[in-house]
Symmetry: D2
Subunit: 299 residues, 4 copies
């Protein structure tokens, strides 16, 4: 399968989605740059862009190689020429933003950081989606705060809400790259492990392939990640959807599909892991027998 | 506390260790660059150095900012002008290498990738250490294959072996950055999660602070990491040993000690996490209730 | 506190409940007698009553000593002179039974083996409760199939249903003595561990004290157990509610409240366990690091 | 296969073992009677024998039906006419007891409650076995305090010790019916769950079948259990060794081998559990996602 496909890069995001393409988002900036030593947890401000531009550029490069079609600016406030994306936990505030942006005559993608229970005022995901589309958003969805499966549940509710209201929009999802079945309405920040002990929850690439397939099957065509999504997670989306898209991302030159790169290992029991069924069915151990598997949120 | 301390960088490694300094090693190259998209798992070759020098340079930079005093070459075969480090699982082979290097009149650091049960021929860690020192190594220790606590157990045996033989050497440890209490004699490659589902085993920064303290208390003065050690893990070593060393690493400008950066968070229950006791005692959940906590090695 | 209180034993069950008394049910017969060697799993028939009457009598005796006020017949079909209790998974069938029994002019207690999702035809717990009371039941509730916390959730829905319909009835709950957060609509029989590997799920006495308190706070006054409830679990209900009832069960002569019996142990660290806070907060390990904490139902 | 085989009951225990028979011990009295309401934890005294003889007799009956050939007296001090068994944690004390009993001209079975690390004074299991046999014991082994697999490890060391000393004796093992991989030298009493939260550690019948097979393969011919061994665990020993012994225990009339009793269940997914491979390979969930899988001993 051919790698990359840069000619596509010239089309606008709505053109792509309208023509049925899958658009792959990017991943985690703040949490990833914190681990690399350029962002301070707690404040999570983005001065790295000016202080250490090479480090930020390098991470962008990694996401691009992994297959990201869209680079969201790392500042959480700057604008791009192709779209506007924001991050809200109140439906009303999101609606205001969409209206302002709409006047600027750009395609608007509005994602909210809500779970299946809806926003802080009890507005359901379905209602949020309807409000955003009525305000002018072309792309609606969720990002951050919840893990992949919870976010897909929210997306299903958004989709059903739009359908029931007779509205149409492109769907977009960018969940955490962490397993978070135990987080409450407030999302991952309320779990006791946030933000310095989330390691055992990091998704494997195989988890992300399953997520990407499920997102695609749900009709979502803008699929990416948020905190915890490392470049290899983005690549996993691009590899899972390579049959639909017709090409692999650049960094697949360093990745054998479903572990196939192990087939030349000298130890036979490691070679035996070079197959899809193996990784699809593996239940990975935590190596932490004194730790539980779930936590209770602090709020 | 002052940051960094670059003037020290001119001394040779033996001079430093002889004068009682703590030397901080670097961390994971292959596994980390695999996740960034530049190395292929299975082959684990290092062509990234020529193909993507910026990516490799960036990772070196991150380890330097995190406090590494020594950059081991990423090629696993090239030489540096200050020391020679190698990676052996047979005592005899390690001895040959030390003898050759010794003739080159350089200080030799010889680490073996063994656990408490010793090498492939049943040579105990104590005997391995004795052989290496007799062959001319100035620094002996272990790297890779086993988790921090298992590696410290091996180091204790090496130290006792040297002591019993009336020999002296500097001690060096560079374990995996993963929790691996269940790996057998062959180390982590034999566990079913290797290499694509090790995520739940990644150590937190707090685990690594405990490891660094225990290594120091055991008399080890060259303390670093191997596969799985990300830049923030190296920083955790440097922060834990800052009282002894008198300075913090550069990237501590982006890290509040023991979570102190959370003390300005808007949510009170997150502010309550801005203290040492909290993170020292937290037992982090895996978020994976269908997974076990330990695995059985394949061999 | 006085033990037992046999004079009370002469009142009818409705008299007791009407006067505000707490009635304590019995526990597990089939599963308990299977472990003792008198019942065959799968068929779960009750021929032990005739084949081994001493064994059955002994278990009844243990539940009586533990505080049970009511002995449900072990046959699942015989009648008692004080009440009728049955076990249904279809609301309609339960209603027929209540109507027939009502004609016999006895107080009817009707429990269904449903969870929060309701019966097999989607009748909600609230609707089930309303139907049963309208058909003539004086006591309604749930038994078997689900763990204590799931059953209390179902009871809350039944209570709300009755309240919304302006109806009144006594509430009764007899859940499994197992931790079953992962069972689906079909209950514990669908979990892969049923019926021969449920051991790790057995509730502690302290779990049951919490359950009893929560049931009481919810307004339930007939509190017992079903499969998995051993005599000491029933005693835990009776001990938790001793302040309200004014007496302890007979077998509390062999049980120090909240572990107080350990206060004479020779080892100080075991004496330190002779207190309520210790047992209330303990998170007991499974001793099975290769096993998960949750399972997926087979159906 | 024939049930029971009472004619054998007349032979003395040494005659049986000398002729190559497998002798099946009994199980848990104190912990089991505590749960039934007749023994107080902490003191663990045996006044139930006089206070509630029916309850004690019933438990004896259950063990007999399950296949026990030997009933150890519940008093921990009374004597039987066929053998003497005691329970020691100091080799020296055990030796004194054996010498005294030997003078009484009875066959002596001496078991110690030690683990692989030996007695309180560092006497290894091998040395303990040698001392006991030299003092006159005909049967040596371990009971209580440690789980099945730890106890088998200790037995292997005892066997090797005897072999190295050129001595011969019958081997006997009666471990806990709990999973205890995490208990230290002091055994299960030092674990935080002792004695009121051991539920999640209870072995399944299938665990016990594996234990019985492994004990048999190790050459042990007196195989039983201690605290936590319920009647159905003893039956599991008798069923596993039925091919060697030529008969099943009485209570196997209520037990289908390897779950075969489920083959008439109405639900097909439960019928699918009526086979050996299913239960042999099942990894049972704890149902407790907030709990760890291992604990740290208090001492």
């Amino acid at each position: 399968m051919a790698l990359a496909g840069s000619p596509r890069a010239k089309k606008g995001i709505l053109e792509r989605l309208d023509s049925g393409e899958v658009v792959i988002g990017d991943g985690s900036f703040l949490i990833t740059l914190e681990k690399r030593g350029y962002v301070k947890a707690g404040l999570w401000t983005s001065e790295a862009v000016v202080e250490h531009p090479n480090a930020v550029r390098q991470l962008h490069m990694e996401f691009l190689r992994a297959g990201s079609n869209v680079m969201q600016t790392f500042t959480f406030s700057a604008s791009e020429d192709k779209m506007e994306s924001q991050y809200f936990e109140h439906a009303e505030e999101a609606v205001w933003a969409v209206e302002v942006l709409k006047e600027a005559r750009k395609p608007v993608a509005a994602t909210m950081c809500i779970g299946p229970e809806g926003d802080m005022h009890g507005v359901t995901p379905g209602e949020c989606a309807v409000k955003l589309v009525k305000a002018g958003a072309s792309i609606v969805g969720v990002n951050c705060r919840f893990g992949p499966w919870t976010s897909l549940k929210t997306m299903r509710l958004m989709k059903e809400g739009l359908w029931a209201a007779g509205l149409k929009a492109h769907l977009m999802v960018q969940p955490l790259g962490f397993h978070m079945p135990d987080c409450g309405k407030g999302g991952f920040v309320d779990l006791p492990e946030y933000p310095f002990a989330l390691e055992p929850r990091v998704a494997t690439r195989w988890d992300i392939q399953k997520y990407a397939r499920e997102a695609y099957n749900l009709g979502i065509r803008y699929i990416g990640g948020c905190c915890g999504f490392e470049p290899y997670h983005i690549r996993a989306i691009a590899e899972e959807l390579a049959p639909e898209r017709g090409f692999l991302p650049l960094s697949s030159d360093k990745h054998g599909s479903w572990g196939s790169g192990l087939n030349t290992h000298t130890k036979p029991w490691i070679r035996a892991r070079a197959r899809r069924e193996y990784w699809e069915n593996l239940l990975p151990a935590s190596g932490r027998p004194f730790c539980p598997s779930l936590s209770k949120p602090d709020a």
